[in-house]
C-alpha cells in the first residue's frame, strides 16, 4: 500500500488527515498523486501548476529522496512506498 503524508495548510483539504492511504497500487509518483487528487481534489492545484508540474517551492519525497533528483512525476514507486509532500525552504 502507498501512503502519502501531508501537513500544515494542506490538511485543510484532506479533512484534517495527515496520512492518506491509497486504495490503489500506482507504479509512478504521478499515478499516486492522480489518485490523491481524486480523493482530495483541493490538493491538486496547490501542489501542481496548470502545466502539471510540481510547484517550484513544493517538494515531493519518496521516503527521503526528492523526486527532483529522480524522474519527477515519472519516478517509479516501489511497493509500500511512503510519499511526503512538503513546502520547501522559501519566503522572506
Amino acid at each position: 500500500m502507498t501512503t502519502i503524508n501531508v501537513s500544515g495548510f494542506l490538511t485543510d483539504f484532506t479533512g484534517g488527515k495527515h496520512v492518506i492511504e491509497l486504495d490503489a497500487s500506482p507504479s509512478t509518483v504521478g499515478q499516486a498523486l492522480d489518485r490523491l487528487w481524486q480523493m482530495h481534489p483541493g490538493l491538486r492545484d496547490r501542489v501542481l501548476t496548470e502545466r502539471g508540474e510540481v510547484r517550484m517551492h513544493v517538494n515531493v519525497f519518496i521516503e527521503d529522496e526528492n523526486i527532483r533528483r529522480r524522474e519527477l512525476l515519472n519516478t517509479q514507486l516501489p511497493e509500500n512506498s511512503e510519499i511526503t509532500i512538503l513546502p520547501s525552504v522559501s519566503g522572506g
Binding site: F9, P41, G42, D45, T49, E50, R51, V58, S90, G91
Partner: protein, 375 residues
C-alpha cells in the same frame, strides 16, 4: 497564527482594503474618515497584490488575490467584510493546458463596463488578461491579447512580467486600455478581440538613446483616466510622466516641476478631471522618496504644473517606497486619498490631499490599497 480582528461596515462607510506581503487588512470608517477600525490580518503569510469590492447587482463581495510562494496564486471572496473567506478547492485563474504557461501571480482585479455588471477582469503574471462574464464564477483567458505577436518580446520588469492595470472605457464598452511591465500600453476597440500598442511619445530610458521611443516595450507603471473624459489619460512611466488627450494615441511629457519623474503610484481625483496625484521616487536605482521627504504631488491643471502636498507627512528621514497599487481614492467629495508604503505605514487624507494623517503603522510591506464606499 495571530488573532484576527474584524470590522463592521455600514452603508455610507468607507472601506479600505490593504494588501501586504504578509497578509491583508480591512479598515472601516464613517464618511468623516478620521477614525478607523482595523480588521485582520487575513491570509497571514500570503502576499495580497490585488483587491476589489464588487457591489454591483446587489452583491457585497470582496475579492482578494492571494499569493503563496508555495501553493500558488488564487482568488478568494468574502461576502461579510472578511469574517469568512472562500478557499476554493480548484483555482479559477488558470492558463489553458495548451498554452504552455503557468500562472505566477494575480496583479489586478477590475470590474467591467457599467453595462456589464457581471463582468470582471484579472491582470496576471506572466502578462495576460482573464475575463469573467458570470461575476467571477468562471474565468477565461483573453486570447486576443495572449496571442498578440508582440507577446514573446515583452520582458519582465523588476516586479515580473505583469499586466497590472486595466482601464475599461466608461463611454465605450468595446474599448479598454491595459498596461504591462514591460510591454507598454495596449488598447482594444473591439471588446478584446484585437489589441494595438499605444505608446507614441513614451520613452524607454533603459534602451540605447536612438531606440528610446519604440512601438512597444515601455515599462509603464500606471495609467489613469477620469470617467467624464476617458480619452484624457495620465501615465506614470519607469522614468516619465505623460498625458494623452486622444485615448492613448499619443502622449505628451508633463513632468513639469516634480523632483523626479520616476515613480509607481498615480491616482486621479474622482471629483476633478484635471487633478492627478503621484508620489515621485528618486530613481530606478534608489526607489525611495527624494530627499527623504514624503511628498504627494498634485496637478490641478492636467499636468501643466505640480505642487507638493506635505501637511501631515514626514519631511525628514522618510525613506519610503510606494508601489503602483499602493495609492487609491474613494468616491466621496472631497475625495479621500490613501497610500501605503513598503515600510508598512498607511496614510490617509479626507480632503483631497490638503492634509494627511497616519492611519496605521507597523503593517507588513504594503503593496496594494483599494477603497470603496459601502452601499
Amino acid at each position: 497564527m495571530p488573532e484576527t480582528n474584524h470590522i463592521d461596515a455600514q452603508s455610507g462607510d468607507v472601506l479600505l482594503m490593504v494588501g501586504t506581503m504578509k497578509g491583508a487588512f480591512l479598515l472601516s470608517s464613517n464618511a468623516a474618515r478620521s477614525d478607523w477600525t482595523v480588521g485582520g490580518p487575513y491570509f497571514p503569510g500570503r502576499a495580497i497584490y490585488a483587491f476589489a469590492h464588487d457591489q454591483r447587482n446587489g452583491r457585497n463581495r470582496l475579492w482578494a488575490a492571494v499569493n503563496s510562494s508555495y501553493w500558488g496564486s488564487y482568488l478568494c471572496t468574502s461576502d461579510d467584510f472578511g469574517r469568512e473567506w472562500t478557499e476554493p478547492e480548484a483555482y479559477s485563474i488558470k492558463f489553458p493546458e495548451d498554452s504552455e504557461t503557468a500562472l505566477k501571480q494575480i496583479w489586478q482585479i477590475e470590474e467591467g463596463h457599467a453595462d456589464e455588471p457581471d463582468t470582471l477582469f484579472c491582470g496576471v503574471e506572466p502578462a495576460a488578461l482573464f475575463r469573467s462574464g458570470d461575476a467571477g464564477a468562471s474565468w477565461s483567458l483573453v486570447k486576443g491579447l495572449f496571442d498578440h505577436p508582440h507577446r514573446p518580446q515583452w520582458q519582465p520588469g523588476g516586479g515580473g512580467l505583469c499586466l497590472h492595470t486595466i482601464l475599461p472605457d466608461p463611454s465605450n464598452k468595446d474599448r479598454m486600455h491595459i498596461a504591462i511591465s514591460t510591454g507598454g500600453v495596449y488598447r482594444t476597440d473591439d471588446g478584446g478581440a484585437s489589441w494595438n500598442p499605444r505608446n507614441v511619445g513614451v520613452r524607454a530610458q533603459f534602451l540605447p538613446p536612438e531606440h528610446r521611443y519604440p512601438e512597444f516595450g515601455q515599462c509603464v507603471h500606471k495609467i489613469v483616466s477620469h470617467p467624464s473624459i476617458p480619452q484624457r489619460m495620465f501615465l506614470q512611466n519607469h522614468w516619465g510622466l505623460y498625458r494623452s488627450d486622444d485615448g492613448g494615441d499619443s502622449w505628451t511629457d508633463i513632468a513639469n516641476g516634480v523632483p523626479s519623474d520616476f515613480g509607481f503610484a498615480m491616482v486621479g481625483d474622482p471629483n476633478d478631471a484635471n487633478s492627478v496625484f503621484i508620489i515621485p521616487l528618486e530613481s530606478d536605482e534608489f526607489r525611495c522618496t527624494p530627499e527623504a521627504k514624503l511628498r504627494v504631488y498634485r496637478t490641478r491643471n492636467a499636468g501643466e504644473s505640480w505642487e507638493p502636498l506635505t501637511n501631515g507627512l514626514p519631511q525628514e528621514n522618510a525613506f519610503e517606497t510606494i508601489l503602483r497599487d499602493g495609492m487609491t481614492s474613494d468616491d466621496l467629495n472631497p475625495a479621500g486619498l490613501y497610500f501605503g508604503t513598503r515600510n508598512g505605514k498607511l496614510f490617509g487624507s479626507n480632503n483631497a490631499g490638503e492634509s494627511w494623517q497616519p492611519i496605521a503603522v507597523g503593517l507588513p510591506p504594503i503593496v496594494c490599497v483599494k477603497a470603496s464606499v459601502v452601499k
